[in-house]
């Protein structure tokens, strides 16, 4: 762990970022003789204040201050419908600003030093070098509970086929997804240029193979790509801020955002008393479900569902049922159950 605080001395002579000395960004006390004295007034994350980087990177910081990685607005927007007006004010004050916002990424979180998650950080990514990207040490750290290990196969099952082909996060998620495009979004769902499979796979329904062509034509706009091509179980969290209870699961149901598309769902850990410890209740808890559409990052060309129509239409494997709903969950959960039917046989 201590190595994460070691600075590569050669950078001092070659990287213009060091032209102002350490204190240019980190402040502190240059005259201090001990660790404690030297660290008096230290700014641990200088780029929390975007103006630090704006001196040179004005264009990027101007869009980044509105980007979701910086504002964390998605976390607030995702839960706010559960609160009354008074409760929302309490949530903003006691939870969003204190907890959610503490997770926002500064410029340095991706380009210099990996963010601390659960109190653990790997420290400097490459001896304080200002790197362009290193997904395995940056994206993976914050998104390492679910998405990244699904993608690499470390969570079980096979790795995502795109990972096996050598693709990493930034091959689909563009730079503008990170730095923002200048627009203020409340949720990642609203981002205009977010990645979609059809950016590359743009000839669906024109395949030579009849079964593939038929499947893509029949399910287009009715089932998401993940619905068929997510290859294995992914992590679902059941009791956040209580007993840790995350376990694998594969859940197919209606996308709560449109109420009609069949897709992979993930249990999102907001239970009735999630914020009780902070004295915040959720009067409208049932306004939102506990399951949300999820872009499972374990895509394969062939899965149980692409091999056989029966996997869904007869066996109903993975489909959300009333019996499988989480206990004491939201009443909105039942609306996500998809009544899958056998394929009608025509003469």
């Amino acid at each position: 762990m201590y190595k994460g605080y070691l600075v590569d001395q050669t950078l001092l002579d070659t990287d213009p970022h060091f032209a102002m000395g350490c204190e240019g960004c980190h402040k502190g006390n240059l005259e201090g003789a001990t660790r404690e004295e030297a660290h008096q007034g230290l700014v641990k994350r200088p780029s929390d204040n975007l103006q630090t980087c704006a001196t040179c990177h004005q264009k990027i910081t101007s869009t980044y201050e509105k980007a979701l990685h910086y504002t964390s607005a998605g976390q607030r927007h995702g839960v706010m419908k559960r609160f009354s007006e008074t409760e929302l004010k309490q949530f903003d004050e006691k939870i969003f600003e204190q907890s959610c916002r503490s997770c926002h990424a500064s410029c340095g979180s991706c380009h210099v030093k990996a963010a601390a998650v659960g109190g653990i950080s790997i420290g400097l990514i490459k001896g304080h070098k200002f790197i362009k990207k290193d997904e395995g040490k940056t994206c993976a750290f914050c998104h390492g509970g679910r998405v990244y290990p699904e993608y690499t196969g470390e969570y079980g099952g096979k790795p995502d086929v795109h990972y096996q082909k050598g693709m990493l996060c930034m091959d689909c998620h563009q730079k503008s997804d990170m730095h923002g495009d200048g627009n203020t979004y409340l949720s990642k769902q609203d981002v205009k240029d977010r990645p979609v499979c059809t950016n590359c796979h743009n000839k669906l329904g024109q395949e030579a193979r009849l079964t593939t062509r038929t499947a893509h034509t029949q399910h287009r706009d009715k089932v998401t790509c993940y619905g068929c091509h997510a290859s294995a179980e992914y992590r679902n969290c059941y009791n956040c801020h209580k007993e840790s209870e995350s376990k694998p699961g594969f859940i197919l149901g209606l996308n709560p955002r449109d109420g009609k598309t069949l897709t992979t769902l993930r249990v999102i850990p907001t239970v009735r008393d999630t914020f009780a410890a902070a004295g915040v209740t959720m009067s409208h808890f049932d306004a939102l479900p506990n399951y949300w559409n999820t872009p499972a990052h374990n895509i394969r060309k062939r899965t149980d569902r692409t091999r056989s129509c029966d996997a869904c239409h007869t066996d109903k494997a993975g489909f959300l049922t009333k019996e499988a709903l989480i206990e004491n969950g939201s009443k909105a959960n039942e609306r996500l159950i998809y009544p899958i039917n056998p394929i009608p046989i025509t003469e």
Binding site: M1, Y5, L6, T14, A19, G119, C142, G145, R146
Partner: protein, 56 residues
């Protein structure tokens, strides 16, 4: 003559680009410890792990 001046200027610029002293060098106290493996190892304090923090 004009060609000679151009070649001379290009040579000067090339030599300047080879210089490693193009940025200010920080020789402050910070670097005394933060570039020394043994010093930073001795000073390092493991973080207190927040078991309530989530992961995404």
């Amino acid at each position: 003559m004009k060609t000679k001046i151009t070649v001379f200027l290009v040579l000067i610029l090339f030599l300047a680009s080879l210089s490693s002293s193009t940025v200010a060098v920080d020789k402050s106290n910070c670097m005394t410890c933060h570039t020394s493996d043994s010093a930073i190892k001795a000073l390092y304090k493991p973080p207190v792990i927040d078991t309530h923090a989530g992961e995404g």
